[in-house]
Structures are given as structure tokens and as C-alpha cells.
Amino acid sequence: MSQRKSYAVGTGLFIVLGFAALAYLATQTSSVANSHQGSSYTIDAQFANIGALKERAPVKVAGVRVGQVQSITLEPGKDVADVTLSIDKKYNEIPTDSVATIYTSGLLGDQYVGLQFGGAKTYVADGGHIGLTKSSAPLEEMLGKFLGSGGAADAIGGTYSVRADFTNVGTLSVGAPVKMAGVAIGSVASIKADPVKLDATVTLAIDKKYNQIPDDSSVSIFTSGLIGSQYVAIQPGGSPNSLKDGDQLVLTQSAMQLEDLIGKFLVNGSPSGSNSAGGNSSPNTPAGKH
């Protein structure tokens, strides 16, 4: 009989040990350890792109966790994601003009929502709304920004070609983007030296959907940033006629040379002297002086 009792006690101890281990695992080693036991309130925000944000991702202010993402939904027919955030009640002074941004922890980590406080005097209440949001930056855009030039446009509808002659193409290369108002609308298809006219003929492939560029637009070679790669920029003119396939842009401005730039800074004029009209690298002539 006493054998029976010791089994029951021992077995009971074993079961208790097992559950204690489970409780330890659940509370100490998992994300439950991070979540506050306190009560919370919910606010929502809309994002154009949630990237890889997941439910239960943390919500942080100044890097400190204040809550978590409760749900992410997309209403049919809309193209913005509705994200509900569950914030600990003790952080109840979030200004209504705060900005919610989706950040990535580390280089390849999980994404979380960061809140930057605004200056408003009113605070978001339970069920409230944060209007200012910044969506997650997809990887491609970021890499594109890194590598410069902002990327070329997708020539989805096909392209048409126009030509322009430059006295100096600088470091412009084939495939460099063609931009208008900073937006890429095509790319450089080819660069050839013209043995007769002694300048460079650049063929631009422009996306067909931009077919209303005035044919008196001027085209220049600019550099992105201080030492970035070069691209072709088109400044629209005023002509009522549009560029068509095979047209030639007449008004061109060649690439700036580094030396000339530095020279402009250092001296009032260029090392090559003569201040005739337009100074040195005044480029608005088809055949300028070098």
C-alpha cells in the first residue's frame, strides 16, 4: 500500500516538474517575456506598403518598445493597408501628428513600426488614428538609391529614339538614364563619335508614353550628386509640336568638366582665358569651344 502512495507522490512531482519547465520556456525564453502584462489601447494607421511587417511586430518610440502590431488588413477595393497598433496604456501621450514609419532592424532583420512624435498638443486616444505614415522602403529602391541615378524607367510600352549631338559627353555611358523633372523617362541607347562634325551623337530611347515632349526642348548632361554618374536631362521647351521617333534635339549642353568646375571656383574665369560672350563653358551653342 505504501508503494502506491509513493508512486502517486512521485508522479505528481514529475508532472509538476514538467509543467514548471513548460512555464519557464514559455515565459522566459519566448517573446511573451517581452510583452507587458499591462492593459493596452489600440490606434490605427494606413500604409501604402507594409513591406515585411508582421503581426506582433514591435512598435517603438525612440527605440523603446511601447506596444505591438495587432493586426494588418487590406480592405478589398482599397490599395492601402490598415494596420492596428496596440499600445501599452502607460504610453498614452502620443501626439496626433506623430509619424509612423516602418523600419527594418539591422540590415536584414525583421521590420517594426517606429513612432516619431509630432508637436500637437492633443494625444491619440483609444481607437484613434495616426495620419502621417511612411511606408517601408522596398529593397530595390534602397539599393537603387545606393547605386545612384535612381534607376532607369521601365520601357514597357516600347520606346522611340531621338538624337542629340554634344561636344563633350563626359563620362556618360550607354544605359544611363534620361530624366525629365528628375523622373527617368528613358535611357541612353548609344553614343557614337561623328568623324565629320567632330562631336558625339547620342541616341536616346524614350518611353513611348512620354510622347508629348516639345521638339524645342533642350537636353543637357548632368551629374547626380557631386561625384555621381552622369545622366541626360531634358528641359521642356514651349513648342506645340512633340518629339517623334527619329527627331533631333538641337539645343544641347555638354557635360561639365571637373577641371573647369574647379577653375570656376578658384579664379574668376577659366585657365584657357578669353572672356568672350558666354565665358568658357557656355554651352548653348551647337559647336562650343572646349
Binding site: 512521485g10 508522479t11 514529475f14 513548460l22 517573446s31
Partner: protein, 257 residues
């Protein structure tokens, strides 16, 4: 006969075994209500099957955790990610190594003892004596052991995992020098209670416990009641359990992920 015959009969034999095992499971489940009268017996079996396995489970859990900490640290060091050692150790243990290794150890220690015990009871007519005394041996002998295994496995798995974490911490922080806070914060932010602990540890270990206990009881019950029969049956328990555990592990992982 042609050389194909032995092959065919092994496959057919295995299929027949699996089928018989399944039918046996039905018999056990049918007997569970009446075995609830024998709660004392189930408690007794839980002691022998569960509590007595604690030593091996805890020791092996500790060593597995230590080895994981060591191995993973060195691999992560290649990518400069040693701060993630804690979470990788925890995830590896919770999702795979915990349930699987515990189940394999369980099969080797408790499974074989169940098989041997039941086989010997058959060989010494104890099962027949029970039938003679109008006690259903399935309800008195088989079902309590099955239930005990089913209950003990998840508990043992939790203990294994806890020891594994401890072992990983021991190696990672105390020996290899990972920062204690980093170890834990990285782990807690990457381990999810529902996906990893409940899905990985609990469901898997319950399933493995059922399979191992069923095979152990089945082999003991259906073996020819001779000494060589019993020896062969214990071997088959370990082999069949191991195969079943790993196959089921794959299925469950695919299903739960």
C-alpha cells in the same frame, strides 16, 4: 523462388504490421474508458515511464544544448552573427531537436522497458491469468502504459528543452563569452510562444509519445511469448519507433509550418 519474393514479403509484412498496429490502437482506445478505473495503474506507469526517464532526458538535454551552442556559435561567427546564438539554439531545440531527440531517447529507455515487461507478462502467463480472473488485459496492462507514455512525453520534452537552453547558455555565455543580455534578448525576440513552443514542443511531443507508446505496447503484446521473442520485440520497438518518429517529424513540420 525468384529473388523478388523476399522483398515482397518484407514490404507486405511491414504493411501488415502497420495495419495490425492501427487496429491495436483502436482496441486500446476502446478500452480507455474502462481503464480509467485503473487510474492507480496509470499513475504507477507514469512514474516508471516518465519520472524514471528523467535522468537520461535531463543529461542528454544538457549535452545537446551545449553542443548546439558550440556548433552554432562557430557557424554564426563566419557571418558575424554570434549574437544570434541564443535564438538559433532555442529555435533548433524547440522546433526539432527537443521533440525528436526526446522521443528517440524515450523509445530507447521507456519503450523497450514497456515492450519487455509486457512480453514477459505474456511469457509467464500473467496476461492469461488476468483473462482468467476476468480482468481485461488491454484495459489493465496496455491502456495505462499507452496513456502514461502519451502524458509523459510532452513533460519530458519540456524538461529536455529547458535543460537544452541552460546548456546553450552555459556554453555561449559562460564559456564563449556572448553577452548575457544579448543572448536572452535575441532569443526572446525571435521565439514565439505559439509557433515554436506550443506547435513545436507540445504537439510534436504528444504525437511522438502516442506513436512510441503504441508501438511499444503493440510489440510487447503481439510477440511470441518466448525469451527470444521478447528480445526480438524490444529491438523492433526501437527500430520501428525511430523510423516512425522521424517520418512523422517531417509530416508534422510540413503541416505546422
Amino acid at each position: 523462388m525468384s529473388a523478388q519474393m523476399p522483398h515482397k514479403s518484407i514490404v507486405l509484412q511491414s504493411l501488415a504490421q502497420i495495419g495490425n498496429c492501427g487496429l491495436f490502437l483502436l482496441r486500446i482506445l476502446a478500452a480507455v474508458p474502462s481503464s480509467l478505473r485503473h487510474v492507480r495503474e496509470t499513475v504507477r506507469q507514469l512514474w516508471f515511464v516518465g519520472a524514471m526517464s528523467l535522468t537520461i532526458i535531463m543529461t542528454c538535454g544538457l549535452f545537446v544544448g551545449m553542443v548546439l551552442g558550440l556548433q552554432l556559435y562557430h557557424v554564426l561567427a563566419i557571418f558575424g552573427g554570434t549574437s544570434a546564438t541564443g535564438s538559433v539554439v532555442a529555435l533548433a531545440i524547440y522546433r526539432e531537436l527537443g521533440p525528436v531527440v526526446t522521443a528517440l531517447l524515450f523509445a530507447g529507455r521507456a519503450g523497450t522497458s514497456i515492450t519487455a515487461e509486457i512480453g514477459l507478462m505474456r511469457a509467464t502467463d500473467q496476461i492469461a491469468a488476468m483473462e482468467m480472473m476476468a480482468v481485461d488485459p488491454i484495459a489493465y496492462v496496455a491502456a495505462p502504459r499507452f496513456l502514461a507514455g502519451l502524458i509523459a512525453m510532452p513533460l519530458l520534452c519540456c524538461v529536455f528543452c529547458a535543460m537544452g537552453i541552460f546548456g546553450g547558455h552555459l556554453v555561449g555565455v559562460s564559456w564563449l563569452g556572448i553577452d548575457n543580455g544579448t543572448f536572452w534578448s535575441n532569443m526572446t525576440s525571435n521565439v514565439d510562444v505559439w509557433d515554436d513552443i506550443i506547435n513545436g514542443v507540445m504537439w510534436k511531443s504528444v504525437a511522438f509519445g502516442a506513436v512510441v507508446s503504441l508501438i511499444a505496447v503493440f510489440q510487447g503484446y503481439t510477440t511470441p511469448p518466448t525469451s527470444e521473442g521478447v528480445a526480438y520485440a524490444t529491438t523492433r520497438t526501437v527500430v520501428s519507433s525511430s523510423i516512425a518518429i522521424l517520418a512523422l517529424d517531417f509530416v508534422l513540420t510540413a503541416f505546422l509550418m
